[in-house]
């Protein structure tokens, strides 16, 4: 039987990890992820989780150990945030290139400098090209459920890629809500022990790991990895479906449309800001404004077809970015625009940048975004990128 508990996002991930029965966890604590790895280590210490918990001296080592563990077929988890994620960046393409199904939680946090421990999504956008699946979750329940789903996704023979589960720092990692914790028995049925793949190391069939491939073969390896990463899109849809059948919760797959079917004005969101946007959309709908949301759940691989299908009827789309690609625009804005143009959808798109360094994106900000979407027209020259909840004139 499942049970309810009052958990923050970090603890929800820890319970998701415990239920997934990893063989190895190698992690280094960093704000705002610390509580997650603390909780997992206490599960191991008190015997609730039979797992090798590796104390490492850095995030780079955490990922190096995870790669080693996963290379011999161990179900492996790690967690990090911000500077820690960037410190392990050198190892991330090793994990994805070697096709190792490591699952990692990342607490989205700003990057120095100026130094800051609060949430934005600059850290993970840095690593979009790392070959990892990147999933964003909205609340603690989704964090727990997606942690379990991520092992299933990563270990699927059609995918065989590492998965990063992103939680907004503090807003999600440190806020509490009622969370349904599935029973161990149900999760065991849903997620059986990992059966090591033939490309992993074992005594019977020795192989070279992380081989060299020079200019004669390297490109083919990379294209193969790239093409097969797209399988994560439909496999994640399948997993959302099978998880719903088992546990009664669906999140819509690679993206979730909220009031998007007949919407004139759509906001594309990632992570926890979606919750605030839902409240605003409900209020606008009661006033007759056809507002809606596309909650983008998987950013890599990018769900191009699903995105195009979901926004096709809209008059204007706003993309919220909690990141800045310095010298250009919000990263998700670039990605959405590329998808729309490739399918001939010449829609008005605006980029709403907010939440940098832990700044709130308020209900009022989101109302302002919808207001801007409803008044913009193609005939006027507008600056596509604007900033919200800024405290001085720009």
């Amino acid at each position: 039987m499942s049970r309810n508990a009052f958990l923050n996002g970090n603890e929800a991930v820890a319970y998701g990890v415990k239920l997934s029965r990893p063989n190895v966890v190698a992690a280094y604590p960093i704000t705002p992820q610390t509580k997650a790895v603390e909780k997992i280590s206490s599960f191991v210490q008190n015997g609730e989780l039979d797992c090798e918990y590796m104390h490492v001296e850095s995030e780079h080592s955490a990922m190096a150990c995870s790669i080693g563990a996963s290379s011999v077929g161990a179900r492996t988890f790690t967690a990090t945030s911000s500077q820690g994620l960037l410190y392990m960046a050198e190892c991330l393409p090793y994990a994805s290139g070697a096709r190792l199904p490591i699952v990692m939680m990342n607490a989205n946090r700003s990057l120095a400098t100026p130094w800051n421990i609060y949430g934005d999504q600059m850290d993970t956008m840095f690593l979009l090209n790392s070959g990892w699946v990147q999933i964003f979750v909205e609340d603690a329940q989704e964090a727990l459920d997606v942690t379990i789903q991520s092992f299933k996704l990563a270990e699927d023979v059609r995918v065989m890629a590492p998965v990063m589960v992103n939680l907004d720092g503090f807003v999600l990692t440190h806020t509490y809500e009622k969370v349904s914790i599935p029973s161990q028995e149900a999760v065991d049925q849903y997620l059986p022990p990992f059966k090591p793949s033939a490309h992993m190391m074992n005594d019977e069939e020795p192989m070279s790991m992380c081989i060299t491939a020079g200019n004669q073969h390297n490109m083919e390896f990379k294209i193969k990895q790239h093409q097969e990463l797209f399988n994560a899109l439909h496999v994640f849809e399948e997993i959302d479906h099978s998880f719903n059948e088992k546990f009664g919760r669906s999140y819509g797959g690679v993206l979730e449309g909220y009031q998007n079917e007949d919407a004139d004005y759509l906001l594309v969101t990632t992570g926890s800001v979606t919750g605030t946007a839902r409240v605003v959309v409900d209020e606008l709908r009661s006033k007759g404004v056809k507002a809606g949301i596309i909650k983008l759940r998987v950013v890599r691989p990018f769900p191009k077809e699903a995105m195009v299908r979901s926004v096709a009827g809209a008059k204007a789309i706003g993309i919220i970015d909690k990141n800045i690609s310095f010298g250009y625009e919000g990263t998700i804005y670039t990605n959405v625009n590329s998808a729309l143009l490739q399918r001939g959808l010449n829609l008005i798109t605006l980029n709403f940048i907010g939440g940098i360094g832990g700044r709130d994106i308020t209900k009022q900000n989101i109302e302002e975004m919808f207001e801007k979407l409803s008044t913009v027209s193609t005939s006027e020259a507008v600056d596509a990128v604007s900033y919200y909840n800024v405290r001085c004139s720009l």
């Binding site: 070697a98 490309h199 992993m200 070279s208 790991m209 081989i211 060299t212 491939a213």
Partner: protein, 100 residues
Amino acid sequence: MKDFKRVPVPTLERLDQYPLGSSCKSFHITDMNAGWRVFKPVIDKDKCVACYRCYLVCPDGAIHQSEDGKFEIDYDYCKGCGICANECKVKVIEMVKEAK
């Protein structure tokens, strides 16, 4: 230790013939190295006891057992790191300076 038979090298004409990830059997992916090797390992086949140690420790899978049971080195792929010579318990792998 079991007798590791050398498996046929795939032709690599389609992507699905490439290994999953970056793990593969020795001799599967062979690029011609750029001639940076200074010392090359040479196995004294008469004294080799076929223990498989060099085969297992070679980081690039450039050593394998040939049909006659002796071990051979793919000199196109071998980088000359010397791990095999260092690890050989019967000391029958000599690092020989490459002729210029």
